[in-house]
Assembly symmetry: C2
Homo-oligomer: 152 residues x 2
Amino acid sequence: MTTKTHEDALSPGDYEALADLRYALRRFTEFSNAEVSNLGMTPQQHQALLAIKGLPPEKEMTIGMLAERLLIAPHSATELVNRLSDAGYIERLSSKDDGRRQIVRLMDKADGILAKLSGAHLHEIREMAPELMQALRILQDRRKLEKIAWMA
Amino acid sequence: MTTKTHEDALSPGDYEALADLRYALRRFTEFSNAEVSNLGMTPQQHQALLAIKGLPPEKEMTIGMLAERLLIAPHSATELVNRLSDAGYIERLSSKDDGRRQIVRLMDKADGILAKLSGAHLHEIREMAPELMQALRILQDRRKLEKIAWMA
DNA sequence: TTCGCATATATCGTGATACGATATAAATCA
DNA sequence: TGATTTATATCGTATCACGATATATGCGAA
């Protein structure tokens, strides 16, 4: 038999719902990227700053943790941190506990920008949340709904 | 006065919630990219196929519509379509209504891959939906919650 | 302690892809 | 028909994460 077993085949509605969810996510990302680049940063730089700022209080961010949080390779985090440091958004200090680690800390410049950006994001998320949640709900329930529609 | 007016300053919890939402979105994207590249496609190629497949029944996709849907420039859609066409995922036909337009249609190869990928995505989304919705809900309500906590 | 391995970060060259600027072609309209 | 707009295409470029590899620090065993 082939790969499609009729049992788990997706309906046109499934594909449409998946496509719509992606479209909503792209629009959010696009909004975010536009805001971010208006302030002269790249999206990934912004996400790095946010990851640092969003750390539980008094926890310190290292290059490796940042890599985990951003889902990039450690050496990519190194490069990202270099760029952020060159641009004056962060400072690096060697960890006193472990000389291999580099602690990454936000400078005032980053705090200011994050305040602006995160405010805008919060606002946009509040706008988009209903649509996103609706999309997720449709995907959660679709098989059930389809089955009911099909039985009727 | 400085940029922070106390009124609209974000709380540590706001930043943490924003960072957590981003982390969840990245994990979804990462899952998706891994699945997609296992089947030899790039993420953007997959999204293009899904956008085509997810179109309401009997509607035809053009290069320009694809650009809109993917939020990329028309000429970037041209290039993407070239690659998809070279790889045998889609075929192009000139529109009979308007000779400038290129209709883009999925080939069987694309349908097969989309069935697999979308099944996997649907499953993953069902897993992640509760967490995502929770994150969105926190961001929706946070100011209210903060205020209550602050008054208590 | 010292050796050896694991961990954390860094460097360098490369590839992929979306973009800006520009070009062509088809449609539309005065 | 000529002028303008719309749809798609081409070419050169820049960005950024990656693979492969290197260095340095920490740690465990004998």
